[in-house]
């Protein structure tokens, strides 16, 4: 097992521990995060709510290792993140991402898209395919495995993205407005799927959303405004 695959014993009970995160763009003129601290336990489902531009996505990007803070400390799954690309490599099998835009590769089929993380992880083909069939059956995509992404509906694409995010059995799922581009009915079913999969997989779900109704169905809701978390029961 490679170093990146190793599950290190957490140094705190929290699976996500962010302390005093600061992030700004354009020479400090746009301050996106201003001293955000966050604590999420294993298996929790947490919704990040707030208006556009309040820093929800940036916070998810920092926690997922896609970006690095100007200041502050992030510990995910017992590992303290270092800067940018290296952080992403550190978390590559620890965290799954679901975005508002599904971010699937249009030239590949549903199955091929879902297998990408397993190729990256070097998972044996038989194991990867068994996992794919299991997830596809649970997300209602079993009959669409060999369909190209362009021929899938919006809901199917987002379910594919969820499927892909779970392929390597990550411990954390970060979802950035996963239902933002879907109609109300589809959004609800995708959210149900997300919550259901998180529960069945024992995942920690941290989700940025505008939809307060959906957010209310999570274990906790954190309200963000102007780069700060207004209410954090854990604090």
């Amino acid at each position: 097992m490679s170093e990146n695959n190793q599950r290190v014993a957490p140094i705190s009970p929290a699976i996500i521990e962010a302390t005093e995160l600061w992030k700004s763009y354009e020479d400090d003129t746009i301050r996106v995060l201003q001293g955000v601290s966050l604590h999420v336990d294993q298996g929790e489902t947490v919704a990040l709510c707030g208006p556009s531009g309040c820093g929800k996505s940036t916070l998810l990007h920092l926690i997922g290792g896609l970006d690095s803070p100007d200041r502050g400390r992030i510990v995910v799954g017992g590992r303290e993140l270092v800067s940018g690309n290296r952080a992403l490599d550190l978390l590559r099998h620890e965290v799954g991402f679901v975005f508002q835009l599904h971010n699937l590769l249009p030239d590949l089929t549903l199955a091929e898209n879902c297998l990408i993380p397993t190729v990256a992880a070097g998972t044996k083909r038989a194991v990867a395919e068994a996992r794919l069939h299991d997830l596809a059956a649970r997300t209602g995509l079993g009959h669409r495995l060999h369909t190209r992404i362009q021929k899938l509906s919006g809901g199917e694409r987002q379910r594919t993205a969820i499927c892909r995010a779970l392929m390597n059995s990550p411990r954390i799922l970060l979802a950035d407005e996963p239902t933002g581009s879907l109609d109300e009915r589809t959004a609800s079913s995708v959210f149900e799927l997300l919550i259901g999969m998180a529960a069945s997989e024992g995942l920690t779900l941290l989700m940025a959303t505008h939809d307060r109704a959906l957010a209310a169905r999570c274990d906790r809701t954190l309200e963000m405004r102007d780069g700060k978390i207004l209410s954090n029961p854990a604090e």
């Binding site: 490599d89 990408i116 993380p117």
Partner: protein, 369 residues
């Protein structure tokens, strides 16, 4: 499997770009193969002239070109009498011209020279080529372009000679050349000796002793084994270096083509690369996709180039204007070397694009729509 699917998908997505890049490598490889093979062939033919029924060549030390070598007549007679020598044949090289043909190679040789003994006499007989003969023997190709037959008079250089015969040889230079009796050639080129002496020894074990004896008896001469001569003769080395340099330049251009294609490919796939990164692809895995694509392009181009190059060489071989001058025998070593060089060039061309792809920051790239 997905890894290869990604590579294939990317290459097929921009078919024209891939094709242009492949064609660039193909033409570079074809050019390199053609130039190297033709020049190697020419070298082979020239060394073939020297090694006809002999394994050692004696010539003047430190001359840049055998045409300038002058081996004194005394040495010629002496060396032939040494007990270790089976036979020694003098050859006087000269370049002459005739109307419409600025360069014709002349060989001043003796009547018992292996070049004529081994040749197929199409017109005339070897008996007519005696030391006092005042005529010339033409190679088949020379007879064609000089429009001459046995018994006719042909203008060659500043003289006019009677054609004693026409011979067919397996060597392009000889086939397009003129053979004169050594005496006549010496008079024609105002030389007393010969350019070289080609020597066949009674036993190959005597080679070292022969070389040492030449060295001690004639300090201004040198004796080299044919293979040694081929390796060290400066003209051959210049020709080989030129061939590889010309081919290398072509390949370099092909490499720039691959680099251009790959960098364009990476620029248009920034978001896709970011998606791969977010889904666990390491920087090395991303780079290896770019490098693998370049390898596929280079390999395809190289194979296509080899086919085109071979076709070109075969065509040149049978072109009437080049008849006999192009030795299109393909050397596997050259083919493999060209193939390997093409692939390396492609990979080197893709290094910067691969490095660029590695450095793509997923968070910024995913903001692109």
């Amino acid at each position: 499997m997905i890894f290869f699917r990604l590579i294939l998908t990317n290459l097929l997505r921009h078919r024209v770009r891939t094709l242009m890049s492949t064609a660039g490598i193909a033409f570079s490889v074809a050019a390199m193969l053609t130039v190297v093979t033709v020049l190697q062939g020419a070298i082979g033919m020239f060394s073939g002239i020297l090694s006809s029924d002999s394994e050692t060549i004696v010539f003047e030390k430190n001359v840049s070109d055998l045409f300038f070598s002058d081996v004194a007549p005394g040495a010629l007679h002496e060396i032939g009498k040494w007990p270790m020598v089976d036979h020694a044949d003098p050859v006087l090289f000269g370049i002459v011209s005739s109307p419409d043909h600025p360069i014709i190679t002349c060989f001043g040789i003796t009547a018992d020279d292996a070049r004529l003994r081994k040749a197929t006499w199409l017109e005339g007989t070897i008996v007519e080529f005696n030391p006092d003969a005042e005529g010339i023997v033409l190679g088949e190709r020379a007879a064609e372009f000089l429009h001459a037959r046995k018994g006719e008079m042909v203008p060659v250089g500043h003289g006019t000679f009677r054609v004693l015969g026409v011979v067919r040889t397996s060597n392009g230079f000889e086939d397009g050349g003129v053979f004169l009796p050594l005496k006549a050639a010496q008079a024609f080129f105002h030389k007393e000796g010969s350019s070289v002496i080609t020597v066949k020894l009674r036993h190959t074990d005597d080679l070292a002793a022969f070389k040492a004896r030449v060295q001690s008896t004639y300090p201004n001469l040198t004796a080299l084994e044919n293979s040694e001569f081929n390796r060290t003769y400066s003209q051959f080395r210049i020709l080989k270096a030129t061939a590889w340099a010309v081919g290398g330049c072509g390949l370099l251009l092909g490499g720039f083509g691959v680099a251009n294609t790959m960098i364009m490919s990476v620029f248009t796939r920034i978001r896709e690369i970011a998606i791969l990164r977010v889904n666990g692809f390491s920087q090395v895995q991303v780079a290896s996709i770019v490098l693998a694509e370049a390898t596929v392009i280079s390999l395809l181009g190289a194979v296509l180039g080899l086919v085109v190059g071979c076709a070109l060489l075969i065509t040149m071989k049978y072109l009437p204007a080049l008849h006999g001058y192009v030795d299109a025998s393909l050397r596997p070593v050259v083919m493999v070397l060209v193939l390997v060089l093409a692939v390396i060039t492609g990979i080197v061309g893709a290094l910067y694009p691969a490095f660029y792809a590695m450095r793509i920051r997923a968070v910024e790239a995913l903001r692109f729509e």
